[in-house]
Symmetry: C2
Subunit: 230 residues, 2 copies
């Protein structure tokens, strides 16, 4: 095994997985999916279909007990998911993370991946953080500065064995989709929506961002939405 990819079954991490497979081959890549108490399992169902598509290795972990005190709106039993753009949410949160920020999710999942990487002889961990997620401190664990620090911590703490690769850290979601289209990522299999309806809602922050990213590439998003407007 060469690389572990943090893999949610969403647009960014599927593009990231495709990139790692393109480099190392599916046989050398482990897609790592974490269940942490989300309100629905649509992303995880999508993740499984995408792994079948690529024939790469797959591991699913249950870290729900770690988040039992979290008020994050993605989690079961917590407040509703906002139906508005990130720009609007950022203005309301006044520089604090948005309600869908899962406490230290990337730091924690990268650390989990680092431990598994050391045990299985992998030297790289990929994750799909991009600059739109970091804007306005919406998701502080997606910023360039965070990425640099966690990469350093994992490199040093693993005895210089494991590195973190964030291929989209200087890219927008539009750029991610552009790259993914070139890589022929099966976006029709991905699930980004924070809600767990039959169709993606089209109204939550991540649906809005996704629709915009396809539109900016002059391509129709292959998944249907309850609300197709922008």
């Amino acid at each position: 095994m060469k690389a572990i990819v943090l893999f949610s079954g969403g647009l960014d991490s599927t593009t990231c997985l495709s990139l790692a497979i393109n480099k190392y081959g599916a046989d050398n890549v482990l897609a790592l999916t974490v269940y942490y108490g989300q309100k629905h399992k649509k992303e995880i169902e999508a993740a499984k279909k995408i792994v079948e598509y690529y024939h790469c290795h797959y591991q699913e972990l249950n870290l729900k007990p770690l988040f039992e005190n979290s008020k994050c709106s993605l989690l079961e039993g917590q407040a509703s998911i906002p139906h508005e753009s990130y720009d609007k949410q950022i203005k309301e949160t006044n520089g604090n993370p948005v309600s869908t920020y899962v406490p230290f999710r990337n730091g924690l999942f990268l650390s989990v991946a680092a431990s598994i990487a050391i045990s299985s002889g992998c030297h790289e961990i990929y994750y799909g953080a991009h600059q739109d997620d970091a804007a306005g401190n919406a998701y502080p664990d997606t910023s360039k500065e965070f990425n640099q620090a966690i990469n350093q911590a994992i490199y040093l703490g693993s005895g210089n064995k494991v590195e973190v690769i964030a291929p989209f850290i200087n890219k927008t979601k539009k750029d991610v989709v552009k790259l993914g289209l070139e890589l022929k990522v099966p976006y029709e299999l991905t699930w980004s929506c924070y809600e767990g309806h039959d169709l993606a809602c089209g109204k939550c922050g991540t649906c809005i961002d996704r629709k915009k990213a396809f539109l900016a590439n002059n391509v129709k998003d292959p998944i249907p939405y309850e609300d197709e407007s922008l």
Copy 2:
């Protein structure tokens, strides 16, 4: 709650817990203990007794599934624990971590603590890494450089909410015991030995280090050993 302490029930982390309680009071401190598949539960039994002694908050987590591919000799089903000093082990491992290095343990446990800290409004995470553990790269996730990087990652990734405090990062184990004696740490309740016998073996790396640290303070270690020699 003000602080979370990574707490194994061993000498270093108990001194660390005592320090945090001395600063904030037991009511404001959460001792976080992780079961990760150790060969025995002596440390966790010790942890519970120490928590009863201090009357602080306590949380135990089971992260065993994360370490199922690890060859670390502390884990159930893996090779025997070396009965020799760290100095000797470091010479044999040639700059690589020792066999009792749990892959990225501190990075992972600090990340878990960071997530819990954000959810529960804590601003500090304490852990007991000291310079003897970092020597010769025996435990790379105890070095000053690692500590600096993980602190930075947690601070940034938490949206500037949580800091890592490593009060012993510039201290030797001798210094830790000196401080602990001043704080009247109940060392008779702690368990450091890597083996799980009735008495501490006195021969594994951590027993040897512990005995030396008390001797250097001209104090008798209050726990009995199978082998009292040094």
